[in-house]
Amino acid sequence: MAAVLLQSEPTETFADRRFRFHPRAALLAGLILLGALIVFALLAPLFGSPYRVFADGLNAQGLPLGLGAPGHLLGTDEIGRDMLARLASAGRIDLEMTFIADITSMGLGIVVGLVAGFYRGLVEQVLMRITDVFLSVPTIVSGLALASVVGEGLTGIVVVVTALYWAWTARVIYGEVLRLRSRVFVEAAVAAGVPRMTILRRHIVPHLSSLMLVLSALNAASVVSIGAGLSYLGAGVQLPRPEWGNMLEEGENALGYAPHLVVEPLVMIILTVLAFMLISEGLTNRGPTAREKTWLDK
């Protein structure tokens, strides 16, 4: 048995082994994918203006050009604008929105979770009941309602997404803080007379850092889809400024004769979500317990 295993080993290529055994393969893949998306978005000016209507942008029947058209690699839209330029320009605003809203919602959630978990009593009750309220509202409907109040554009969507998502982070962080509080080393610090803020800073927050990383990657994945989703529904980033969500909505009408108008922004959204999911997966498996190999991994 062992001999068979030994024999089979050299036939595996280095790449095989790396993919199968490297615990950070997912992290690596996610980071590469995200990096590629960021580069694509940053290079947007190279692809020309997203608003320029090309005279040769439509075919003889007045329909959009498909994939691989000369000069328009990803085709054109219904009025003859270059899809590549529009997708890249949209990517910029989508990624910007994702990073900002991820940071704000995570930040708010972390602060609320820490405070509620560490200061018990009334503070905890009030904060967690508020959190429960935010957890229980239906995302899309309340998002749309809120968007109509806070206004459109990048700021509006960041506010809406933050309001919709901070409570999830707050819940998870709160639970983890409660777990850490009861650890003996925290009690030892209390027994030694260490002030609360010092305990929080030295014994609670450092133990949350890896969880925060995983959470923020997961959170980003949700933020991408809800941000694009709200724009698709007419809130958030407004036409003519291209954004993957409103591009989807715009292309919808042409689904019958120009499916690439829907498929392309959709693929961008999926790739971005996938990138964040892979990163969070990779970060999860980076934990000290996950790093140990079991007999199953051999």
Partner: protein, 341 residues
């Protein structure tokens, strides 16, 4: 303080000030007590983890506390260091009640160290030994005054190399970690150190090292210990006096030698008969006493009644904790209340 470090076998309580424990607290009159518990009760829901317990912790002396798991020993430790507050009764530090405020409690904590049971859990894996041992000093604003030097001295005192300063707990096995825990407990030069089962998570060979270290530190620094353990053999080695706890209440207490050679309470006898040590004085105790199965006891009865091999009619009434010679016992058989019926 008075005992040489080499006096490992059961230390005698010769001419020592009377270690006092009593249900009324009136026997605890000694003004010298560092920490005193007066009729302390701690409930968790319906369970009384600690039941009307009074005792005094005297400077330079070791009070051993024995009892099976779940009898409330650890709760006593947590009460003494202020991690729990009593449901009723009072704890006093140097004659004054424990302060209610956080800030006031911090002043008391400065004088009480604690060594925890599980050295793998008690040290933050992300901190270096410098941070762990130095933390109490920083917390009380003593770091600037040569705090680092003090940490070095402490690590040296517990037998760790000075180079350990920047290592993390993960570099050490159980015994090494417990040494770190002891160094932390001593950082503020406390008068009293509460040791909550400090050896029960360690290998037997390491246990002896840690016990010897604790005894040696006591001899040098004149520490008082509250030494909690379920292992009577260990308690006998370190303690001047022993308190036997069952269901949060004192069953028997007194000088270590008296309790371990001539146990009077049936529960103490049962505990001693289970000791697997090799000391000659144990052999004469004969074979192991088997206790009855634990069942709920009616209120007002002796808490040990359902398991007591010598239970009799008088036990439906709870026996008071009374002085018998040099010890206190709560049993009708010993104190005479209705015995023989």
């Amino acid at each position: 303080m008075t005992r040489p470090a080499t006096a490992l076998p059961a230390p005698h309580a010769e001419g020592s000030p009377r270690f006092a424990a009593g249900p009324s607290g009136d026997a605890t009159a000694s003004p010298r007590a560092i920490v005193k518990l007066v009729k302390v009760t701690k409930r968790f829901g319906a369970t009384r983890a600690v039941d009307d317990l009074s005792l005094s912790l005297l400077p330079g002396r070791t009070l051993g506390m024995v009892g099976e798991s779940g009898c409330g020993k650890s709760t006593v430790a947590r009460l003494v260091v202020g991690l729990e507050r009593p449901t009723s009764g009072e704890l006093q530090y140097e004659g004054r009640p424990y302060p209610r405020s956080d800030r006031g409690m911090r002043r008391v904590r400065r004088h009480i160290g604690m060594v925890f049971q599980d050295p793998y859990e008690a040290l933050d894996p992300r901190c270096t030994l410098r941070q762990i041992v130095g933390e109490p000093l920083m917390a009380h604003g003593l770091w600037r005054d040569g705090g680092l030097e003090r940490v070095r001295t402490l690590l040296d005192a517990v037998g760790l190399p000075k180079a350990a300063l920047d290592s993390r707990p993960s570099h050490y096995s159980g015994g090494g970690r417990q040494r770190v825990g002891i160094a932390r407990a001593l950082a503020l030069d406390p008068a009293l150190v509460v040791c909550d089962e400090p050896t029960s998570a360690l290998d037997v060979s390491i246990q002896a090292q840690i016990i010897n270290l604790l005894l040696q530190l006591q001899a040098v620094r004149g520490l008082a210990y509250l030494f909690i353990s379920h292992d009577l053999d260990v308690v006998r080695r370190v303690s001047d006096e022993v308190v036997v706890i069952y269901a949060g209440a004192i069953m028997e207490s007194g000088p270590t030698t008296a309790i371990t050679t001539e146990p009077k309470h049936p529960y103490t006898r049962a505990l001693l008969s289970g000791v697997t040590g090799t000391m000659p004085d144990q052999r004469k105790l004969g074979s192991r006493i088997r206790l009855n199965e634990e069942r709920p006891v009616p209120t007002g009865a002796c808490p040990f009644a359902s398991r007591c091999p010598e239970v009799h009619r008088a036990c439906v009434k709870r026996p008071p904790l009374l002085a018998v010679g040099d010890r206190l016992v709560a049993c009708h058989l010993v104190t005479g209340g209705g015995a023989g019926t």
